[in-house]
Amino acid sequence: MEPAQFDAGVPAFGTGVLYTFLVTAAGAFALAVMAGVDHRGAAPRLLRAARLAALGTCALIGLDVLLLLYGFLSHDFRIRYVAHYSDRSMPFAYLVSALWGGQDGSLLWWTFLLSLYTSACVLWLKARHRELAPWVIAALMSVIMFFGVLMAFAANPFAASFGVPPVDGEGLNPQLQNFYMAIHPPSLYTGFVGCAVPFAFAVAALISGRLDEEWILAARRWVLFAWMFLSIGNVLGMLWAYEELGWGGFWAWDPVENAACLPWWTLTAYLHSVMTQERRGILKVWNVSLLLGTFFLTIFGTFLTRSGLISSVHSFAQSEIGIYFVWYMGGLIVASLALVIWRLPRLRRPVHFDAVLSREAMFVANNWLLLGICVFIALATTWPKINEWLWDARLTVGASFYNAWLAPAAMVLFALVGVGTLTPWRKGTPKLLGEAFRGPLVAAGAALAAHVAFGRRLGFPAVIHIDPIYDNVTTVWLLGPVNVGRTLAWVDGHLPAVATSLFAFNLAALMQEFWRGARARMRSRAESAPVALTRLVSRNRRRYGGYIVHIGFALMMLGFLGAAYRTEAEATLRPGERFSLGRYELRYDRPEMLRNPNRREVHGKLTVFRGGRELARISPARFIYTARQEMPTTEVSITSGLREDLYVVMASIDPETRVGHFKAFVNPLTVWIWIGGVVMVLGVMVAMWPDASRAAEAAMRARRAADAAREEEAA
């Protein structure tokens, strides 16, 4: 459809709306601050004005997104962004996903999601938390203002094309024309942007001085929601990489992947340590810092992805926006530190643990470990650039480095998850601890013995060989000369056995928790086992929702363990020839060429046999998109099972000789990562599902009390 006459000014109108919402956000910010500091009775009026101005700003941001969408749907190539990221042959779904497919549009999308969160939060705050509300609105508006400035001065998605607009656009990057790519960025952004709301509550608590549990309770569901979407976004990112990049794996420790997972670690730490604050009233400084840090990491991640600082298959084009992020991050650090230091006397409480084997001590240990992993990933990601700045030397930090160091750390975390589940708050008597640990320890021992005895026969040996990543001898304090690389490789080689036993330990600990809880209900209330279990979960959603998340985490760890057993083979075949890998034999039948308006597809038709029987017919392919012929994509073929995936890539086919070059991988246990991800999401939903009857009852009681107070005053 050609752009109609009446929309001649869409690029100019969009830019105008951009400037307008920047101004209105600043207005809403000023009104909210005035409402927060007013002590002369004007606060309710100012707060209402701020709230409505914030909602109006959000409506303007929505308007801008719809204008850009209109630009894509009407192929208005006068808008440079539309011309660069779409073409006339693209289907509707990818025209929509092109909204966030490039730098400028993704920043608008970021702001749009933030406006949705802001609207929801402002509407939710209407009758709640009067002291916190102005500062929450002000904090959210300040973030919107930053993105407004960024787009207005450095990355305007409505910037006009130079000269005469092109007849057709350049088209979306073919690698982004994938189902998971259409849903992965919105999910990840939803998680990233969602961290702004807990951040706003933390800032509001620090400024208003209301540092008791009020802000924690207020922020709880927002934190869980953001965490859930961070998890979904990262898992979908793994799925996209697995399906689209064609290298056989799902996580390559690419800088952008690392940036996406950084806030997940700190938010996970917060979810655990906040329980210690609720239960014991300690770790207030830590918790508030974790939320401030999580928000900082979302901005840092956005900076890494968009500044062009570090090259990656996922990153956006190089641009001038980096310096804006640097200033904003600097401002965030200074403001956050100043607020925490200002409130330090009221936040600080002496921390004392009654026993090492207590839940709060386990939470602190897991927090340090989660934070340590986060810092390690952040440092390793940025190290090549730091190295270049300081010593003018080029360095690459590869996946083997991360895997070698983080696999042992992940095992310690896995152990802490299990031990933390079993330890009581404060301290447990040796008898109680013995009862709690006996079953899981027996399960872990049995799993270890079974793995050692039968693992090799089943194709999963308990100990594997890993090549050292370094081979130099280093003197380590107290230990003397140590070959760090060989030691690390030895430890990593034994991790499959450790992981299996920890998997059994965790599952047994979690099942035991469900069983003990259900049994207590069966005894005290004479309920049947299914009724007791259902009611146990529904009446203790937070606790058992958390346990379900842990089951999901354990299943994901099982999937990650499978990566240690990955095998691969390559073959160049004529039609009718075969090659084998593990339990599979693959026969190359024929090549096939398909065409549609958007692309050409070259398929390699293969038949898969297992144990002499035909298992599946597969069709790995290369897609050549009309608009970007220089970027053919790899379309892998995955035959998935609970035990392993057969993952086949077609590298090339010679059209004259019909000779095909194929690469195949056997990826054991990978499907458990996706199953674990789904279980994790289910667990979060259980944990944050509102108790409708209880909330309604509380609201009604509060309203009645308010009515009674008013009547009394009138009398």
Partner: protein
Amino acid sequence: MSDTTQEREPLARFIPWAVLGVAVLVAIPLGVVRGAATVALWLAFALLASAVLLFWESLRSLIDPSAPVEEEEDEASRLAAVEARKNSALRALKDIAFERSIGRLGEDDYAELEARYRAEA
């Protein structure tokens, strides 16, 4: 707050939902007849109108003394916050009772924690 405002408020509460409903209802036939691009344009117009109304109301809060300020919500909101904190303490009480019932909390610790949460509740 005046009686007129009290009478007007229940109706006023439904206005945003009514506007949303009308915007969606118009968008459906528009999409069928004119396509997705026109729907985007229509929804953009609806958002522009909403933004104008919201800014007008915001301005009215500042300059019009008769504009609503929802003062009566303050007390209910404060009590709801107190109620939420009480519920949190009650949940903690339930938690420790549960932990004692499955043998995860000793009697001494239970007594100490129970006294603390009861006082908080």
